[in-house]
């Protein structure tokens, strides 16, 4: 278990950590998600011991390591650029951590071979590292970091230097390595897709603070603040007042329309925010479906986003929905056409204001 307790630090007045507390469980794949410059890398470097925090403590498996030198923490670190030692070949890179620990030649060979096999990089072992592709570099760096069996593996944007196709393949590999090596991973990224695909839990970091910690489902579908909702691109966030409360549903008055929402712990008269992801809105030409909430309105805007478009429908409140290019043609949706927006009650997420 990694326990980060009220850590504050700043680096060159540019990046800073402000009273950060977090705890990561043993064996967990924990992703720190945040925009560029939010202090994510600095947090990793503080965990690794490259910087010692101005305030707060870092506790690893019960041991306070706040003042320990990095070489005495047994933590693996992968920088964004991998930083393979350019004057060593692949094998010497992988076994470096064992060599400095005084592991004998046989022990080094054994562990290196094991990792080389597990990452299928046998064909690379005698290559000069400067000739490796991005994906190959990542695998070698991973093997190097894993060789001394670290307690924790810290990954700083491990996919950002790779092209799309290489990335897709290595994402799966990384998950498997995590399982196989039974290592705790803290992975830093600015990519929401990456966080969603990889994380057991996510901590969202903005401007040096952790704003929410939770499962991908909680972060992306049930954010606890409008700030986070906007960051994870929940296009629909409406203000309203709880009007009625029944056993299986509550009714929220948005002014122009009423919505059925999950009752949860709401009370009549409370001011709330209702959130809805655009992917959860089904757009029809106008036939009502079985869903509890069906709104009718006029298309005010279609914003092409590649194979999908964001369609905005004015139904009294503005509803934004994701529609595929084919559906757009099929429903002949154009600006000014009438359309219905249909969504399940369970897709709605309500927070108190």
């Amino acid at each position: 278990m990694i326990s980060i307790e009220r850590v504050s630090h700043d680096w060159g007045g540019i990046f800073s950590l402000k009273d950060v507390s977090l705890s990561v469980k043993d064996g967990e794949y924990f992703v720190i998600l945040g925009p560029t410059g939010s202090g994510k890398t600095l947090l990793l470097e503080v965990i690794a011991g490259i910087y010692h925090p101005r305030e707060g403590r870092i506790v690893l498996q019960g041991e306070d390591v706040t003042q320990l030198a990095p070489e005495r923490r047994n933590i693996g670190f992968l920088y964004q650029d991998y930083n393979l030692f350019p004057h060593y070949d692949v094998m010497k890179n992988i076994s470096y951590g064992l060599a400095v620990r005084g592991v004998g030649k046989e022990g080094r060979l054994e562990r290196s071979r094991e990792l080389v096999a597990s990452l299928s990089i046998g064909h690379l072992v005698s290559r000069d590292v400067t000739t490796l592709s991005g994906g190959e570099q990542q695998k070698v760096a991973l093997a190097r970091a894993l060789a001394p069996r670290p307690r924790i593996l810290l990954l700083d944007e491990p996919f950002s230097a790779l092209d799309e196709n290489t990335k897709a393949a290595l994402v799966r590999e990384m998950k498997e390595v995590h399982r196989r090596e039974r290592v705790t991973v803290v992975h830093v990224t600015h990519s929401q897709e990456e966080a969603m695909v990889m994380a057991d839990r996510i901590g969202v970091m903005m401007d040096g603070r952790i704003v929410q910690v939770g499962t991908p489902e909680e972060i992306f579908y049930r954010p606890q603040s409008t700030e986070l909702a906007s960051f994870v691109k929940i296009e629909n966030v409406w203000s309203g007042v709880v009007a009625r409360l029944e056993e299986d549903a509550a009714t929220v008055d948005l002014g122009a329309v009423m919505l059925h929402v999950p009752p949860d712990t709401l009370a009549v008269g409370e001011t709330v925010r209702v959130m809805l992801r655009p992917e959860d809105v089904v757009v029809g030409s106008s036939s009502p479906g079985s869903a509890r909430n069906t709104l009718f309105g006029v298309v005010t805007d279609i914003e092409p986003r590649g194979f999908y478009s964001l369609v905005r429908i004015d139904c009294g409140v503005l509803v934004t929905a994701t529609v595929t290019k084919r559906s757009l043609e099929l429903l002949s949706l154009t600006v000014g056409a009438s359309a219905s927006a249909i969504f399940k009650m369970t897709a709605l997420h309500v927070i108190r204001q």
Binding site: I50, R73, F85, G97, V100
Partner: protein
């Protein structure tokens, strides 16, 4: 093909072509300076040149020059690597001032440096008297030559070394440390080998700068005569005929050594 290429370039880039012609005056000047001297000695005055090359005083002075500059470079490397590493890796108050102090010998007039060194290191000088008790005399001795050469040449090594260490991404050392290497090990295994090309070329430059020095050396140690002193002495007593052969011999030896060292360091 090549003429075509040039014609092409001239039509496309009239400005660059004009600039090239203007710039070539510098190149031609340098070539003329060297060529004139080399031709006079190696082609026209071959016999005289060979006679001088066998003169044992000449050979001894050239050897002394190369050797003292080598010693000065060794000292610059030993003291300069730690200094350069700290300058490249850390920021601290007063770093700008240190950086300015490191550069001082580059902008000090050579005879001024000589006077300053003499004043400090002469037998009755503040430091010289101390060293004399240890048996090391600078005034008119090999150690004076080494001190003067060190003073004017170490900035070439230190600045190259700072550049070298700065060019090594500190993340390499950080990774090494997370892998279990302590600071010294990370320095020795990572920073030092990666900065090595800069360190070697800096050492070569410092050595060449030491060999080239005259003004500072001549004041602290007229004797034993380094090659430059001997050249001026022979020029004053015997004119160009007596001095130019030594100059050519020195420059040939310097070039050969310089190129050999460059090639040896590039091959790795």
């Amino acid at each position: 093909m090549n003429a075509d290429y040039v014609k092409h370039a001239v039509r496309r880039n009239p400005l660059s072509s004009l600039f090239f012609l203007i710039g070539m005056t510098i190149i031609l000047f340098v070539i003329a300076v060297l060529f004139n001297m080399l031709v006079r000695q190696l082609v026209i005055n071959t016999d005289g040149f060979l006679a001088i090359a066998r003169d044992s005083a000449v050979v001894r002075s050239i050897w002394l020059t190369l050797y003292t500059s080598f010693l000065a470079t060794v000292i610059a490397v030993i003291l300069g690597i730690p200094l350069a590493y700290v300058m490249a890796r850390h920021s601290f108050p007063g770093k700008d001032v240190l950086s300015a102090i490191i550069d001082i010998p580059v902008i000090i007039p050579h005879t001024v440096a000589g006077i300053a060194l003499f004043s400090l290191l002469m037998r009755r000088g503040a430091v010289g008297s101390f060293f004399e008790q240890l048996g090391i005399v600078f005034q008119d001795s090999m150690w004076g030559i080494v001190a003067a050469m060190f003073f004017v040449s170490y900035p070439f090594f230190v600045n190259a070394a700072i550049e070298g260490f700065s060019s090594v991404d500190p993340n390499y050392e950080r990774v090494a440390r997370t892998l279990g290497a302590n600071q010294w090990r990370a320095f020795r295994n990572i920073a030092l080998p990666l900065a090595r090309p800069h360190l070697l070329s800096g050492a070569i430059m410092a050595w060449a700068r030491g060999v080239s020095e005259f003004g500072a050396v001549v004041i602290i140690a007229y004797y034993p005569m380094i090659a430059s002193t001997l050249i001026l002495y022979r020029f004053n007593t015997g004119g160009l005929g007596q001095s130019q052969p030594i100059a050519v011999l020195l420059i040939l030896i310097c070039f050969v050594t310089f190129l050999a060292m460059r090639m040896a360091t590039r091959r790795r």
